[in-house]
């Protein structure tokens, strides 16, 4: 399952999407908005995307992971709009018969997603100032 949503992401939603009767291993990664990054306090993150291309790139990551590993399911859900401290911006779930493919595919998917999926975030601090997050300014997420 591939999804972009403005609604809060529930853990069950992503893990249910990869459930399979032949799965022994189910891995879920949730990226959440962190309150403190060093001495910087974040109020929320604000995400926007290039929707058609983001969905296309997420689908490609899904397909590539299914090809690279013997997975039974792959789910990528990205939230858009404002994500307050503690809430989930990204959920990646995978399932496989045994645990090694899941533990390899999970980090690969989130690493690749952060490299190729056209989503951008602004960090809003406690004073309400916003900054675009980029590689030299990595911000309040995982």
């Amino acid at each position: 399952m591939i999804k972009l949503t403005e609604q809060p992401i529930q853990a069950e939603q992503a893990i249910d999407a990869v459930a399979h009767c032949n799965a022994g291993a189910n891995l879920l990664f949730l990226g959440t908005t962190r309150q403190w990054t060093g001495d910087q306090e974040t109020r929320e993150l604000k995400y926007e995307c290039y929707q058609e291309m983001a969905l296309k790139q997420m689908q490609q990551l899904h397909d590539q992971a299914m090809e690279k590993w013997p997975l039974l399911g792959v789910c990528i859900i990205h939230r858009l709009g404002c994500v307050p401290v503690g809430e989930t911006s990204i959920a990646v779930a995978v399932s496989s018969g045994h645990r090694q493919p899941a533990f390899e595919a999970g980090p690969w998917l989130i690493d690749r997603l952060k490299q190729v999926v056209p989503v951008w975030k602004q960090e809003i601090n406690q004073q309400g100032d916003s900054t675009w997050v980029h590689p030299l300014n990595p911000g309040a997420t995982s």
Partner: protein, 81 residues
Amino acid sequence: MKINVIVFAAVKEVLGRERLEIDLHAPATVADLRQALLQKHPNITDLMDHCVISVDQEYSDDSTVLKEGCEVGVIPPVSGG
């Protein structure tokens, strides 16, 4: 030919809009589009140095050929997740 360009994040903020139209002489490549874009909007020169260009929702390079009606995206460094 007319090329539809969509811009995002900081580039969108500087330009004050999300969609532009750039007129190019065919045949034209992504490199030609970059040049035309900077000529028309020199205020995004610094930002463009860090942007990659997508053509019809796929990453491209400077030599990618543009076709009439294609959709070009100006993609700043992504920061999803």
